[in-house]
């Protein structure tokens, strides 16, 4: 950074100072609070859904995660289609992107965006443009963790 500033002409440096003076500051704390509450609210909905499955179906605490995640992703996909989740995303930022609902949003928003290019090359080809990396690294890290657990189990550590 310092070497970059050295290369700048005095006029450029003056402009940089002026730009920094007028630059709008990002409300980091405000964004964090918004993300915290909206993300927490999404988790409360998830908890309610998991209690619903435990109460009315034969799911135990261990197995209830699967239908809950599926329901949450499905709901976020529907809300993305209706245009509600995008507004929520604008308001909450990471609070709506980090929970698993963000995955559904990433899939459907990419599908909607490329709908005009056709079903195969447009929707099919671009649907996992954003979510593909989540699947790839998710599967890979699950494989690594399972491998470590198996090895530790074989060695008698676990």
């Amino acid at each position: 950074m310092a070497s970059k500033q050295k290369k700048m002409t005095p006029q450029q440096q003056k402009y940089q100072q002026l730009q920094q003076k007028h630059e709008l500051k990002r409300p980091v704390l405000k964004n964090c609070i918004k993300a915290f509450f909206v993300g927490g609210l999404i988790c409360v909905v998830g908890q309610a859904i998991s209690y619903f499955y435990i109460y009315f179906f034969d799911f135990t605490e261990q197995s209830v995660g699967n239908p809950t995640v599926a329901t949450m992703v499905f709901l976020s996909m529907l809300l993305t289609g209706f245009g509600v989740y995008d507004r929520l995303g604008q308001f909450a930022g990471a609070g709506s992107a980090v929970p698993v609902t963000g995955f559904g949003n990433a899939v459907i928003s990419a599908a909607i965006e490329h709908r005009t290019e056709g079903f195969v090359l447009g929707v099919g080809g671009n649907m996992f443009k954003l979510a593909g990396s989540v699947i790839l690294f998710g599967v890979f890290s699950a494989f690594v963790v399972a491998l470590i657990k198996t090895l530790l189990g074989m060695w008698g550590v676990l």
Binding site: Y51, F56, D58, T60, E61
Partner: protein
């Protein structure tokens, strides 16, 4: 946008209201949320009610545990409990310690120990139906075995 939110809210309220209709069992409705502490129960009277009460007191005396249900059948004794929120990180260790403690103190009993909410809920439902006279001894024994099988499927 406002229309969608209104429809969503009204569906939620309708579901909540309809789900709470026509259910005679009161305690188990809130078993996941509040402390219920159901009476220790035996599926048949001659299985030793005193022993079951002792087991419940034993489990309740552990600091990390706050809600206990004990059901004893012909062979199996089901011990289900809730763990205090901040102690849930040590759930496996608590289960291990409790099983060891109970097996040492009551070597003749065959314990099934669990802290799963579903198992707890089903145990409360079983106790409630048994107390209300909606279940015969045989049906209660059958249901208890089903619950015990559910816990073994989780392992």
């Amino acid at each position: 946008m406002v229309y969608i939110i209104r429809v969503f809210l009204s569906i939620c309220i309708t579901l909540l209201v309809s789900c709470s209709q026509g259910q005679a069992e009161k305690e188990s409705q809130m078993a996941l949320i509040k402390t219920t502490n159901p009476n220790p129960t035996v599926t048949k009277k001659n299985y030793g009610q005193d022993n079951v009460e002792k087991i419940e007191r034993e489990v309740e005396s552990i600091d990390e545990i706050y809600d206990v249900a004990v059901v004893k059948g012909k062979e199996a004794t089901l011990v289900v409990y809730k763990v205090k929120h901040m102690q849930r990180f040590r759930m496996k260790q608590i289960e291990k310690d409790l099983t060891k403690k109970l097996e040492e103190k009551y070597p003749k009993e065959q314990f099934t120990v669990s802290s799963d909410y579903k198992i707890f809920l089903e145990a409360v439902r079983l106790v409630e139906r048994k107390d209300n006279g909606n279940l015969s001894d045989k049906q209660a024994e059958k249901r208890l075995n089903e619950i015990v099988k559910m816990t073994s499927d989780m392992k």
